[in-house]
């Protein structure tokens, strides 16, 4: 360094600083023996970046760069300490050597030192008293998916995730340790991105989005490739600090941050191809027509009705189309490009990344889903390390253009000899009005545009040695704009209508929220004891504005996307809802002798979702852990390397009931009568509902054997929810379907979770590790005084799960009529739902889990994950066999079913409707699925080229093993698009 060149710079600096810099300079200059050492860090499989190289007992240190290289000025008397999480620390004395190329050995026991994010605080894995599952970017990056919930599937014990639909932009459902609330919509966990609560409530209006992809899940805004880690908090000890919102678990999302070192660029691009996983086998034309003919014959109909076009000869009886192949049999193309740049000093680090993704669909026609996202993160700490600042911001933009009709459902019901979609000129074929051409609806257009900004800042200042003041501020702003344009051409030309009936539906939703959470952290040590404490408070507000406008009647269909061109406009909804939330929380943690740990957390919450006098509630939990492997009698045990027993108990709550539900109001109906916009009563009024509470208990054992090469965690939990806040179902005679209220019932979710990690091989060139998790949960209605007299009498049974469905018991076919027969339980001579539908089936999974293996051989890495679920499901329910509805191919076996009917036989129709709600219609839908497979190859490039290139192949849902006959076992026969089988090729370039 040319020290003189710094002089002009000095001139600009204030005097006191100048003096200190001068001093520093003199000191540096004074140590004439300083030597510069260089080298590289690697592990068995190659370059290891980010290794900390510290001078022992001094503040000096650095990190190795992306290529594993480092440079450091030291004294010959110094000792270098090379450390990296998950590896054994290496110490080397400098002496008179200048180059140190260090190969680090993986140390499985080091995993215990991993710092786990628990939300308001962090905790070392080994000192954790709570139940937390996590996955990191390593696992997330291997999956070619767009929704963060997809990345967690099969990888976390106790976390049951299902894909709702294979349609791009469609949602996933998640249940953490079973369903606590009887409300179908009150079981969402709390999502927190970098400390900012993120509302997962769906956005958009059914009137606009129609069928697909149902309502937009805001979670799609979060870009999986920007995520560093996802932690799921499960037990009371972890969730009580989230109080009223913790009952269903908490999902913490931490986005990527910059790393110190030279500026580094990464470009990652991939292309994927997706096809539908599994389709049920349906009848061909011959089988279908045989069924129809028999059905009419059974009904005593000899002349086919004029409207029975499929069978009366109007349609070609020899025509066959595989409609599933035609409508959902295409290949979706997915392109994903991500670029990032990061770097910085040990004081200030940054990361900037951008992602672009484009997905087409398996449907015919021009549909796609586009997503662009930018993520920026900056960390700064002052030289004295007292002040730290962390900022992260993500902005994403999505555009989804999907069909407005459920092509999956149509493909399964349409007669196999239905006419051609297009005529010879390529126009829609209406076959002389004998059918509603199913693709006509594709001329309508649904577009959803979502823009989402999530930003947060965390400021921290160490006031005293042991005390720091932290404050996090978050802001999120989500805008969703949907358009549904329905031109007159979607209607049969026989109606003779034009663009005067064309229709445009729009909706604009904007949801903004802010949060401020000032906190005080304190820690101290006394002898063998260690105390950590924190107190804090939360102020949060969320505002949602919705505006739904419809336009009717256009001069031409080409003007249909322009609302201003509509001759008539109506505003269906224009409202603003505000949710306010305030809390105080605290945590106290005491560790004695690194062996005994107690963790106490509590929160007092207030929510605007409850009426006056009911707004506040207090929640709390105690967790404790005993590291028994540290006891003297086990200290030198050669088999057991780690042992911990932990337990927790506490309460959490749930306020997911929607805003303003305690008010007795009339709201604008948005509908005009005689020039007046009407006012509608909004709900049955019950101001007296309050918080629902979940009591959670957990006990777990964590043990490591043979230097933690085998690591086993076994947990038992039992959650009890009482005073449940539900929409009590009501008969229609009350005017409304339900009433909000607290229910005097107790629901228990209990279960076992096992997680096993084994390091099977660990050699210089070959590594093999296995991760296995399995969860079994059981839901049970413990007590419900007054169940018999309540509207739940025919829904629940005390002692059974609340997820049960009641079914008839099938006894066989009538010897006289052949109709299906069922057990007449109450012996009153007739079969009724209330009297005889008493058998119980639980379609919740009995157990589920995943088995992941990772192999590393030199530059090659192979990962695969098998996901398994043990469950039952209903078989295909398309409608009464014999109607003009296609059926599973197995239905053509007429011998083993009741007679077909074309609609003329009420007894058979009624019997069939009971059959599909009987034990005969339930089949095994268990499956094992190769959820994810990933093969990565690092090109062996020369180090000095400063470039790394990785090639990868990835697959999602490639193989499915199941006995389920009615299609895909994950989405079941629900007539939604099954998940896609995705195959990906990509490269990742770092330089």
């Amino acid at each position: 360094m040319n020290k003189f060149s710094l002089f002009p710079l000095w001139a600009a600096l204030p005097l006191p600083k100048l003096f200190s810099i001068f001093l520093f300079f003199c000191i540096t200059v004074g140590y004439t023996q300083t030597v510069t050492v260089t080298g590289s860090t690697s592990d068995a499989s190659g370059v290891l970046a980010g290794v900390t190289i510290q001078v022992k007992d001094k503040a000096q240190g650095t990190l190795s760069d992306e290529l594993g290289n480092y440079t450091l000025s030291v004294l010959p008397t110094d000792t270098l300490v090379f450390s990296f999480v998950g590896y054994k620390t290496v110490e080397v004395a400098v002496g008179n050597q200048y180059v140190f190329n260090v190969v680090l050995q993986e140390d499985t026991t080091q995993l215990r030192e991993v710092i786990v994010n628990a939300g308001y605080y962090t905790v070392k894995e080994k000192e954790r008293t709570s139940s937390i599952s996590s996955i990191s970017a390593n696992d997330i990056e291997k999956q070619p998916v767009t929704n963060l919930l997809a990345t967690m599937q099969g990888r976390m014990a106790g976390v049951d995730i299902r894909q709702d639909s294979g349609s791009p932009g469609g949602g996933f459902s998640i249940k953490i340790r079973g369903q606590n609330s009887l409300r179908a919509d009150g079981n969402e966990p709390l999502y927190i991105i970098n400390g900012v609560p993120y509302s997962s409530e769906t956005i958009g209006a059914i009137s606009t989005s129609g069928f697909s992809p149902s309502l937009t899940s805001p979670l799609n805004s979060i870009n999986p490739s920007d995520i560093e880690s996802i932690e799921v908090l499960k037990d009371a000890d972890a969730t009580a600090i989230y109080g009223s919102r913790g009952a269903n678990g908490v999902v913490l999302i931490t986005t990527k941050k910059g790393k110190a070192g030279a500026t580094s660029f990464t470009v990652n691009s991939s292309t994927s191809f997706g096809t539908v996983t599994r389709l049920p086998k349906l009848m061909n034309t011959q089988q279908y027509l045989a069924m129809r003919e028999l059905a009419f014959a059974n009904d005593g109909v000899t002349t086919y009705p004029s409207y029975a076009y499929d069978v009366n000869g109007t349609w070609d009886r020899n025509r066959y189309t595989n409609w599933q192949k035609e409508f959902i049999g295409g290949t979706a193309n997915i392109t994903n490009v991500q670029a990032s740049v990061f770097g910085g000093s040990s004081q200030t680090k940054y990361l900037l990344s951008g992602t672009y993704r484009n997905e087409t669909t398996v449907y015919p026609g021009d549909f796609n889903y586009k997503k662009g996202a930018a993520h920026f993160s900056m960390d700064h700490k002052s030289v004295d390390e007292k002040f730290t600042l962390t900022f992260s911001g993500t902005y994403s933009s999505q555009k989804n253009n999907q069909p407005t009709v459920n092509l999956t459902a149509i493909s399964r019901t349409l007669s196999p000899n239905a006419p051609a979609i297009y005529d010879e000129e390529g126009n829609l074929n209406w076959e002389d009005s004998t059918w509603d051409n199913p693709l006509a609806v594709l001329q309508s257009k649904f577009t959803s545009k979502t823009k989402d900004l999530v930003a947060n800042t965390l400021l921290s200042y160490t006031i005293f040695k042991n005390t720091s003041l932290k404050s996090s501020f978050g802001y999120s702003d989500l805008t969703n704009n949907e358009l549904n344009a329905q031109p007159s051409t979607i209607y049969n030309p026989a109606y003779g209508v034009g663009s005067e009936i064309s229709f445009l539906s729009t909706n604009l939703t904007n949801r903004t929220s802010w949060i401020a959470e000032p906190q005080l952290h304190w820690h101290a040590s006394t002898g063998k004891g260690k105390v950590e404490a924190l107190v804090g408070s939360t102020f949060q507000q969320q505002k949602t504005n919705r505006l739904y406008i419809n336009g009717y009647g256009f001069a031409s269909n080409s003007l249909l996307n322009d609302l201003a061109s509509a001759s008539l406009k109506t505003v269906d909804l224009s409202d603003e809802t505000i949710y306010k939330y305030q809390a105080f929380f605290a945590r106290l943690n005491y560790t004695y002798d690194n062996r005994y740990i107690v963790n106490v957390t509590g929160r007092r919450d207030g929510s605007s979702r409850f009426g006056p006098g009911k707004q506040f509630a207090t929640f709390g939990a105690v967790g404790a852990a005993w590291l028994f492997s540290k006891e003297s009698f086990l200290a030198d045990n050669s088999v057991l390397s780690f042992g911990k027993l932990r337990a927790s108990y506490g309460t959490t709550g749930n306020d997911q009931i929607g805003d303003y539900q305690f008010l007795d109001t009339y709201a604008s109906s948005g509908t005009n009568y005689e020039g007046t916009i009407g006012l509608d009563p909004t709900r049955l009024f019950n101001p007296a509902f309050g918080w629902e509470t979940s009591k959670k208990f957990e006990v777990a054992v964590e043990t490591g054997y043979f230097n933690d090469r085998i690591f086993l965690t076994a947990a038992y939990y039992r959650n009890r929810s009482s005073n449940q806040l539900v929409g009590i179902p009501l008969p229609g005679t009350t005017g409304f379907p339900s009433l909000n209220g607290n229910l005097d019932a107790t629901v228990q979710n209990s279960g076992l979770e096992l997680t096993l990690r084994t390091v099977n091989f660990q050699r210089k060139n070959f590594d093999w590790t296995t991760n296995f998790n399995i969860s079994a949960s059981r839901n049970k209605l413990i007590s419900y005084p007054g169940l018999e007299g309540s509207t739940y009498a025919n829904l629940y049974v005390v002692g059974e799960p609340t997820s049960i469905i009641k079914i008839y018991h099938y006894t066989g076919m009538s010897s006289a009529t052949g109709a299906y027969e069922f057990e007449d339980l109450n012996g009153d001579g007739i079969i009724t739902a209330a009297g005889d539908r008493k058998a119980v089936a639980d379609l919740n999974p009995k157990f589920f889990g995943g088995l992941q293996n990772q192999f590393k051989y030199k530059n090659l890495q192979l990962d695969f994950l098998f996901q398994f679920v043990k469950q039952q499901a209903f078989s295909s329910i398309n409608g009464v066999p014999g109607l003009a509805i296609n059926q599973l191919a197995t239905v053509s076996d007429a011998e083993n079913q009741q007679p077909f009917t074309a609609g003329g036989n009420s007894a058979l129709t009624t019997a069939y409707s009971r059959y599909v709600r009987s034990d005969a219609a339930i089949e095994d839908a268990s499956y094992v699925r190769l959820k994810n497979i990933s093969l990565t190859y690092d090109l062996p490039l020369l180090r000095h080229q400063k470039i790394q290139c990785q090639l990868y192949l990835q697959g999602q849902n490639l193989l499915t093993f199941t006995k389920y006959k009615s299609g895909d076992p994950e989405t079941k026969f629900t007539n939604v698009l099954p998940p896609l089988k995705v195959f990906t090729v990509g490269t990742k370039l770092t330089f």
């Binding site: 509603d436 008539l568 709201a667 509908t671 008969p731 009350t734 005017g735 509207t791």
Partner: protein, 450 residues
């Protein structure tokens, strides 16, 4: 630590978490302290009646569904819809439309009861306003219960908004339901003003309540009362006989007693949109050839209220009372719920049943005359009643299920329908109660046959 927690426990700051009523909403009690907002609550009920439930002119309404259920309409849509079982007379208690009609109707009744209670508790509304709104709400309550009792048989009659009692209601015998409806309507007749409160006859007046009352007396077989109630309407000078058959269904028709104001300016009727097609076969619903063939050759209604569509070899028909199928800038037609012809036919039947044969024939001939038909040749009371029934079939087709209710009350339903409807069972004269309803209310029972 514990003390800190305790301290925090008392620190709840109520103000931060208190929110105001959202600006698109009003509290229930405030609505009825102002004439305009109370009127908006009533307007919302009419919009609901127009758009959903039995009075809707779209595919799920009584016009379409009950027309297909009997021999009036033929369904050409796919068999996978909830509508087909109405046409094939193969209803299940799980049918979505069966349950939707039930729930929608009781929701409409709830809204009417809320208006009645709101007005009764109001301190600021004028008596004139109270009478008007309560009268209208009573009329709506009776009207909707009328359709419920017509299709489901014994049904609960709901007169309050209290869910604690409403959730356990039992089925009330048909005769008692009629008594309740008649009570409500007699009260409505006293409360409602003679004149329409607005220019287009889109809000019920006293005569509208009388018109429904006449219909209910007729269904109940109270002939003298039916005749008197019908006379009260016929004698009202607001209504004058229309001599042009093409003007009957125009929105300015002088025979209209009550019609729905459309959702959008320039809109016409949902019925027009549903029934009209320009080329065959019918894309969704067509008029049955049984109905078409039952008209006399020279019946003007056969050519003016029915349209024939032919492809050269086959001819199909659709109802053509309403001629507009889409927006016309300025509306030409509104959906008419009550019109004068029905009142003449009610009185004709009631008079015949009471032996007032000549005046009965006069009323019947009034309707026949407009259709271009000669005076009736019926002589005896029974013949006149039979002639009125045939006239009702030709006059009131595709208007809210008259054919179904007439066949049923005269006991013909199980002799007439099996000849044209292969799926007809005697128990089909009642719809099933929705299965979900039976599961949540132990006091309800199912109709036979389901």
């Amino acid at each position: 630590m514990i003390s800190v927690l305790t301290l925090l426990a008392f620190l709840g700051c109520d103000e931060f978490v208190t929110v105001d009523t959202p600006n698109s909403q009003l509290t229930g009690s405030a609505v009825f302290e102002d004439s305009n907002t109370a009127n908006a609550a009533m307007a919302a009920i009419y919009a609901k009646l127009r758009d959903d439930g039995f009075l809707s002119g779209s595919a799920g309404g009584s016009t379409a569904v009950l027309g297909m259920y009997v021999d009036e309409l033929v369904y050409y849509g796919g068999t996978d819809e909830n509508i087909f079982p109405f046409f094939s007379n193969n209803l299940l208690a799980t049918n979505a439309l069966v349950s939707q009609q039930w729930n929608t109707s009781y929701h409409q009744i709830y809204c009417a009861n809320a208006v009645i209670e709101g007005c009764e508790n109001s301190t600021a509304l004028s008596n004139a306003d109270k009478n008007q709104f309560i009268g209208e709400a009573l009329f709506v309550r009776a009207l909707v219960h009328g359709y419920l009792v017509g299709v489901y048989g014994d049904v609960p009659y709901i007169i309050s908004t209290d869910y604690a009692t409403n959730r356990l209601e039992e089925r009330m015998p048909v005769a008692d339901v009629f008594e309740m409806m008649i009570n409500d309507l007699e009260r409505a007749v006293t409360l409602l003003p003679d004149a329409y409160v607005s220019p287009e006859r889109v809000r019920p007046n006293r005569s509208t309540a009388s018109a429904l009352l006449a219909r209910m007396y007729m269904y109940a077989g109270q002939w003298a009362e039916a005749s008197n109630a019908a006379s009260a309407v016929i004698n009202n000078s607001l209504y004058t006989w229309e001599d042009d058959i093409d003007a009957v269904f125009l929105k300015e028709s002088s025979t209209t007693i009550w019609q729905f104001s459309p959702k959008l300016e320039g809109n016409n009727t949902d019925e027009g949109e549903l029934f009209i097609f320009e080329s065959g076969p019918p894309p969704y619903i067509g008029l049955s050839s049984e109905l078409f063939n039952s008209f006399a050759t020279n019946d003007l209604r056969k050519t003016h209220w029915v349209a024939a569509i032919s492809d050269g070899t086959t001819t199909w028909y659709h109802a053509h009372k309403y001629k507009q199928q889409s927006n016309t800038g300025t509306s030409l037609e509104y959906s008419i719920i009550f019109r004068l012809s029905e009142q003449y036919l009610i009185r004709a039947e009631a008079r015949a049943r009471q032996g007032e044969l000549s005046s009965a024939k006069e009323d019947l001939n009034k309707v026949r005359q407009l259709a271009g038909l000669a005076s009736t040749t019926a002589v005896t009371a029974d013949e006149i009643v039979a002639a009125v029934m045939l006239e009702r079939r030709h006059e009131l087709f595709t208007e809210y299920g008259h054919r179904f209710f007439d066949l049923k009350r005269n006991g013909f339903i199980n002799t007439v329908l099996p000849q044209v409807k292969p799926g007809w069972n005697t128990t089909d004269q009642f719809w099933p109660l929705p299965e979900n309803e039976l599961l949540v209310n132990p006091n309800l029972t199912q109709n036979p046959g389901y």
